[in-house]
């Protein structure tokens, strides 16, 4: 007899019948009825009408009946909230039962009843259960807090359940600890409030590590995930965490293994690069990863996606394990494709022969997608391992001989890439390729073939015939092929002008007159004009040397890779996207998951030296808000400022700028055309160069137009690339023609173009604020650098900072908002009207000097490395708006009396004692605002030392 009997009745009065049975006196009948109800419920039938009758069965000693009723309640309480309250009393009573199983069951079920009204009644029993003597009840209650938080987060925080939960982290029972961790991490994942965040300190870490060994496999996953969010304070701590986590690699649960791998991968970042510890750890990581590949295909898939990241970050770990990634014919396709990807990443000169043999084998398989990817993989190998290129090309030729249509097409696409990577090396095979011209029916393959014909037109005798044959069906081709054909024929014309004049005219007229595709028309017109006005220039443009394609175009950006390494074992690692890109962020909390910042280059390996890891705290949310009140308004302001920007700079620049801009426009069009023609990786490769030079030119003009007077400190890196998703910002401050500027250099180290730049300052001690919008040539393409000057005003909001000269800056681009801070050199704030009194009237100075109490006088020896004479010093200082009021000679020493004024009206008086032929001088400063003195002293030293 089986449960299927519960499904058999479909008579008319089913509900009515059940109602009768539920109210029966016989226990047995009641139970059978409840079972029937549950069975109907599981297949999705609506049995909510029986709610009161089922709830009546709840007060029973029969545990099975109780459980079944609980099951029913969980499902239907939501739809019958008023009725559900009837059940509350029984729950409260059950929570005090002598049997811990019943207590736990009650608290568990209560949490599943997602009815607001009930939650209030829940608090007291829950509080008790969290302190229950029985660990089984405690561990169930811990999960209940997470449930309650899901229903009513505020209530959980107000009732102090979070603190109780944190206390459970040090419970004596490892299972309770594990559940508390799981509950806390789920709460902190969904809640924006800082109260919900799980604080990790050394103590909790130690407790977690202790619990790790003894709790269930699932608990181990939760604990390991929590551990991975902890930033160890030094490399010794990181090392000890790694040591205690390593045994988890031998667990039979794949989830535990991969979570342990995550902790170790992160831990290794905090231990020195070269250390022996890392080397041994890397060796230990390989076997468990390989073992994951003999599990179920689903596990393999997740493992492979993660291995893909690991191989990119630390190629050494699996370099000897190539063979385990060989594809079996009955692997599911998603496993096959991932294995292929990793094989290419692991391919080196040593194992390339094996890899190629395998790839060739795969290219004869049945699954078309897989075959195509295999052929593409051969091409990628050729590009990656130069020594093997020849082997790869001959393998591809073999494949072309098979005449299998899709294999041939795919092969031609990759051969085009090989030609680009190794120009003038394998052109001998062109004739073989041409034999297959007719069989190509996919746009990709056709376009690639046309590109090859156009590029090597001079070596193909019948290039014109070949291209002409394509031209016949010009209008039926896809845009990609049409564009390619247009360019190829123009190339052909430039190489063999005599025979092909007719052909080129034909294609130009097809493109410009008969086509309604604007891209095609535009490109047609450009070629036409180029050819008609200046054929030499056309030659230079169309036949320009192409940039080489890089070997690893499919690599993840280093900063993204670092971020993803922090998310190993999570969904992010499967999608290869950071969680912010796909997790629904009602309140996505920035987790403190960042790898320690290495040098700006961001390349692992590149930095040999161990840098002390800087614990990275994500910017607190509040601060973000004070910097940029709201994105939209900030942008509005910036836009508004943009209009006024043009009025600020002196006239001469105005007249200078249009010229380069025009020039740039022209370049842009060509560059764009050229590039899409080449099918290169970056669509804007042509443009940035011109823009960059323009930006630089503008900077030069600015710099030359006004001879720089004040001292300008060299640029410093303010925002290293790894912290800003590839954007590197360095800068300095300067004064030109009484206008204060922030001079910035922006460098794009990422792999995608950046644009939409904007800047905002936080309140600062001297009210500095941007006087216009940030003008960055946009887009800033990968690898490009742009110099930008930002005029500054001094009327912004004021708030005293610590350190005094600190300036917090928020910079935004199309990717994210980044924050950094820098120190303003104080001489930036000296004003031109800083001369107290006048050279003839020194009384004011004397009176003020006397007026300031002597306690406000600070003396310091400063260096005079160039041993300048008083005249020289005074001239230099004046350029930086430190004015000499009087000069005296006392006992062979020169005394300079000077004054300066800050933008906010603070006066500083100075007495400079200069000993002839001495490398030092004595500076006495007197001011009412003592805070600025150290900075002014520094400014003196800097200015004098750098003149």
């Amino acid at each position: 007899m089986t449960d299927s009997k519960y499904f058999t009745t479909t008579k008319k009065g089913e509900i009515f019948e059940l109602k009768n049975e539920l109210n029966s006196d016989k226990k047995e009948k009641k139970k059978e009825a409840v079972k029937k109800v549950i069975a109907s419920m599981t297949v999705g039938k609506d049995v909510s009408a029986l709610f009161p009758d089922v709830v009546n069965c709840m007060q029973t000693d029969n545990l099975e009946l109780k459980k079944l009723v609980y099951l029913y309640l969980m499902n239907y309480a939501k739809s019958q909230p008023d009725m559900a309250i009837m059940a509350v009393n029984t729950f409260v009573k059950d929570c005090e039962d002598t049997n811990p199983l019943i207590r736990a069951l009650a608290v568990r079920t209560m949490g599943c009843i997602r009815v607001d009204k009930i939650t209030e009644y829940l608090c007291e029993p829950l509080r008790k259960c969290l302190k229950d003597e029985d660990p089984y009840v405690r561990k169930t209650a811990a999960v209940c807090v997470a449930k309650l938080h899901d229903i009513n987060a505020q209530l959980v925080e107000d009732q102090g359940f979070l603190d109780q939960l944190r206390e459970l982290l040090s419970d004596s029972n490892p299972m309770v600890v594990a559940n508390a961790v799981a509950a806390l991490s789920e709460i902190s994942d969904t809640s924006p409030s800082p109260a919900a965040q799980m604080e990790m300190n050394q103590q909790t870490i130690n407790k977690l590590l202790a619990a790790l060994n003894e709790c269930t496999e699932w608990g181990q996953i939760f604990i390991l995930d929590a551990l991975s969010n902890y930033v160890p304070k030094d490399d010794r701590e990181a090392q000890s965490i790694c040591e205690r986590v390593t045994p988890r690699l031998a667990h039979s649960n794949a989830g535990v293994v991969l979570s342990a791998v995550k902790v170790l991968m992160k831990g290794m970042e905090y231990v020195g690069m070269e250390s022996e510890f890392v080397t041994t750890l890397q060796k230990k990581l390989a076997p468990p990863l390989v073992t994951l590949l003999s599990s179920e295909p689903e596990v393999q898939y997740v493992a492979l996606r993660n291995i893909n990241l690991i191989v990119q970050k630390r190629p050494d770990i699996l370099k000897h394990e190539m063979k385990v990634f060989f594809v079996k014919y009955n692997d599911p396709i998603y496993v096959k494709l991932e294995k292929l990807d990793i094989m290419i990443r692991l391919a080196t000169q040593e194992n390339i022969a094996q890899v190629l043999a395998e790839l060739k084998e795969y290219a004869t398989e049945v699954d078309v997608d897989f075959v195509r990817k295999s052929v593409r993989a051969i091409g990628r190998c050729a590009i990656k391992v130069e020594q093997a290129a020849e082997r790869c090309v001959s393998t591809l030729l073999d494949l072309i001989q098979t005449k299998v249509n899709y294999v041939v097409q795919e092969a031609i696409v990759v051969i085009k890439d090989i030609f680009r990577k190794y120009p003038n090396k394998y052109e001998s095979i062109i004739s073989t390729l041409c034999e297959n011209l007719e069989s190509l029916d996919e746009p990709d393959a056709r376009a690639s073939m046309i590109w090859i014909v156009g590029e090597y037109a001079e070596r193909i005798d019948n290039a014109d015939e070949l291209l002409e044959s394509f031209l016949e069906g010009f209008h039926d081709e896809s845009t990609q092929v049409q564009l390619q054909l247009l360019t190829a024929i123009v190339k052909l014309f430039l190489k063999k002008p005599t025979e092909t004049q007719e052909l080129v005219q034909q294609v130009l007229s097809l493109a410009t007159q008969d086509s309604d595709n604007p891209d095609l028309r535009d490109r047609g017109y450009i070629y036409w004009r180029l050819l008609s006005t200046d054929p030499a220039a056309a030659k230079e443009v169309v036949l320009a040397e192409k940039p080489l394609i890089s070997s690893e175009t499919d690599r993840l950006e280093p900063t993204l890779l670092d971020e993803l390494i922090c998310y190993i074992a999570s969904l992010a690692s499967v999608y290869h996207k950071p969680p912010s890109a796909f997790v629904e962020g009602q309140a996505l909390v920035v987790r403190k998951t960042q790898l320690p910042v290495r040098s700006a280059s961001g390349e692992p390996g590149a930095t040999g030296a161990t840098e002390s890891p800087v614990p990275q705290q994500a910017q607190p949310v509040q601060q973000q808000q004070s910097v940029i009140p709201s994105h939209d308004t900030a942008m509005g302001d910036l836009l508004g400022d943009l209009l006024s920007m043009d009025l600020n700079p002196p006239q001469q620049q105005m007249s200078m700028t249009p010229a380069p801009q025009q020039d740039m426009g022209g370049m842009d069009l060509l560059g764009g055309g050229l590039d899409s023609l080449l099918g290169g990786p970056s669509p804007v490769a042509g443009m940035p160069a011109s823009q960059a030079s323009m930006g630089g030119g503008l900077g030069d003009i600015l710099g030359l137009g006004i001879s720089s007077t004040t001292y300008v400190p060299p640029k410093q890196v303010w925002l290293p690339a790894p912290k800003a998703k590839g954007l590197e910002v360095s800068g300095t401050f300067s004064i030109r023609q009484n206008v204060r500027y922030m001079d910035l250099t922006l460098k794009n180290n990422a792999m995608a173009p950046m644009g939409d730049f904007a800047i905002q300052f936080n309140k600062n001690s001297f009210g500095l604020s941007p006087a216009s919008a940030l003008q960055v040539p946009s887009p800033l393409s990968p690898g490009q650098t742009a110099d930008v000057t930002l005029p500054l005003g001094t009327n912004g909001p004021v708030q005293k900072m610590d350190p005094l000269m600190n300036l917090q800056v928020a910079m935004k681009n199309n990717i994210d908002v980044f924050y950094f801070s820098c120190l303003i050199p104080i001489h930036l704030l000296f004003t031109e009207d800083g001369q107290m009194g006048s050279a003839s009237d020194r009384k004011v100075f004397l009176a003020t000097w006397k007026d300031i109490p002597d306690s406000n006088e600070v003396q310091k020896e400063i260096a005079n490395p160039n041993q300048l004479d008083p005249k020289g010093i005074s001239d230099k200082l004046q350029q930086s708006f430190i004015f000499t009021i009087a000069q005296r000679n006392v006992d062979g020493r020169d005394m300079l009396y000077q004054s300066l004024k800050l933008t906010n009206g603070i006066w500083v008086l100075a007495e400079l004692k200069i000993q002839p032929r001495s490398p030092t001088m004595t500076l006495s400063l007197k001011t009412r605002a003592l805070d600025v003195i150290p900075q002014v002293q520094q400014a003196y030293e800097l200015i004098i030392a750098n003149m």
């Binding site: 226990k27 099951l71 089984y136 169930t140 039979s252 390989v290 003999s294 689903e298 969904l571």
Partner: protein
């Protein structure tokens, strides 16, 4: 964590759903069906699917898709491992985890799912704990239950859940104490056309059946533990002792369990026990098929239960073959040839040969099909792993239960069995 679970059969019916938090509409499965449409075969559906609001993570077992729905970022392997555990539990309870078994035991399935996961957090996944909570069905008990009105649900606290050895239940008592160990090794290999090994490695497991009273403490040592350098253990194994002395020391679960699984990597040489000599050729309208199997490195042991399967190209219409031994079948729908060879007699090598007929008019296939081979060799572990000795100690109460527990050496039946078989053993032709 895991929000809901849907079970979908091969016909695309959602025949069971379970929600651990709020109810998620079935329509979420549409994203799964969409993905399923794209796949060529049922196994090819990508196991992790993202939708605008949910993540669907599924496994495919027993011709059923078990689709878990998550709403937050979760470790996908946690979900996958858990789903496998669910199916294992069904198999354990009902004999098989298929659709009919689930449908026949709806209420138990529902109760099991309820016990295994609480609010998406795993609660009780160890089989012995679950069995304490929910008795597995059997005919006798069903009869007794209907007569006496008692239930499948136990009224006790699952004690194991709290102890330091959650895998073992307390108070186990057997009249005959016994402990059996099966060392099973599977060879995964790819052999190329010429008969040379492209890739081979060994996946080994030690499965145990331990029926011992009280709290036994066992120590298993090997003659050559160095073979085991890539291992994953059952949680009961004491890792420290393994690290230090290379012995397996553990308090075993009660009944059947997997003590350790290990992997002998491709760096080591793997002895390939059989060879296959295929000779398959196609021409217009037909082709020849000729396959011979023979023993290679078997250390004098008999190769048994040899089965050869070959997925023929789609254009193959039928095959007309003659085996020298065993029987063959050709499934004209799935285009799969299966040849059940049986034992290999080294004096007279089994051979299967004959003609292939192709669909008329279609061109002969470009590539030859791969052959997969199954076989078993008793009393041999191909890696060479050998158990040295097994020691058992334990608390066994003496005749009078009042007396204090003493440590005593068991005198149970014990035995070790070795078996080598083919895992994913492929020959390219």
């Amino acid at each position: 964590m895991i929000h809901s679970l849907f079970m979908i059969n091969s016909a695309g019916d959602i025949f069971m759903e379970k929600h651990w938090k709020s109810v998620i509409s079935r329509s979420v499965c549409d994203y799964f069906f969409e993905e399923q449409q794209k796949a060529n075969s049922p196994e090819d559906v990508n196991p992790v699917i993202s939708t605008p609001h949910h993540y669907l993570i599924h496994i495919y077992r027993e011709n059923i898709y078990f689709v878990a729905v998550c709403t937050t970022e979760v470790p996908p392997l946690f979900v996958i491992e858990f789903l496998h555990r669910v199916v294992d539990t069904f198999t354990d309870y009902f004999g098989d985890g298929g659709e009919s078994a689930i449908k026949d035991n709806y209420v138990i399935v529902y109760e099991l799912l309820e016990e295994m996961l609480d609010n998406g957090f795993p609660l009780a996944t160890e089989s012995n704990i679950l069995k304490e909570l929910i008795k597995p069905p059997n005919i006798l008990r069903t009869v007794v239950n209907t007569v006496t009105g008692s239930s499948n649900l136990a009224d006790t606290l699952p004690t194991g859940q709290l102890s330091n050895v959650p895998w073992r239940r307390a108070g186990v008592k057997y009249t005959n104490n016994e402990a059996y160990f099966d060392v099973i090794e599977e060879i995964d290999a790819i052999i190329d056309k010429q008969g040379s090994t492209v890739f081979a490695d060994i996946q080994g497991v030690i499965d145990c059946c331990v029926k011992l009273s009280g709290m036994p403490d066992l120590t298993l040592s090997f003659m050559n533990p160095r073979i085991l350098d890539d291992v994953s253990f059952h949680p009961c194994v004491r890792f420290k002792r393994w690290e230090a002395e290379r012995v397996l020391s553990f308090v075993p679960p009660d009944g059947n369990f997997r003590l350790i699984s290990y992997h002998v990597g491709s760096q080591n040489m793997v002895a390939i026990p059989v060879y296959v000599k295929p000779n398959i050729s196609f021409r217009e309208g037909g082709g020849r098929f000729d396959v011979t199997v023979g023993p290679k490195q078997t250390m004098g042991k008999m190769v048994e239960s040899v089965v050869i399967t070959c997925a023929m190209p789609k254009v193959v219409l039928n095959m007309n073959l003659t085996p020298t031994q065993g029987t063959y079948t050709f499934d004209p729908v799935a285009k799969v040839l299966t040849w059940d060879v049986g034992k290999i007699n080294p004096q007279k090598l089994p051979n299967l040969r004959g003609n292939i007929s192709l669909q008329s008019g279609s061109p002969p296939p470009e590539s030859n099909p791969a052959i997969s081979v199954q076989f078993k060799i008793q009393q041999m572990a191909v890696s060479g792993l050998k158990v040295n000795r097994l020691d058992m100690y334990g608390e066994v109460s003496k005749s009078s239960p009042k007396k204090s527990f003493t440590f005593e050496k068991y005198k149970p039946f014990k035995g070790v069995k070795y078996l080598t078989k083919a895992g994913n053993f492929q020959v390219r032709t």
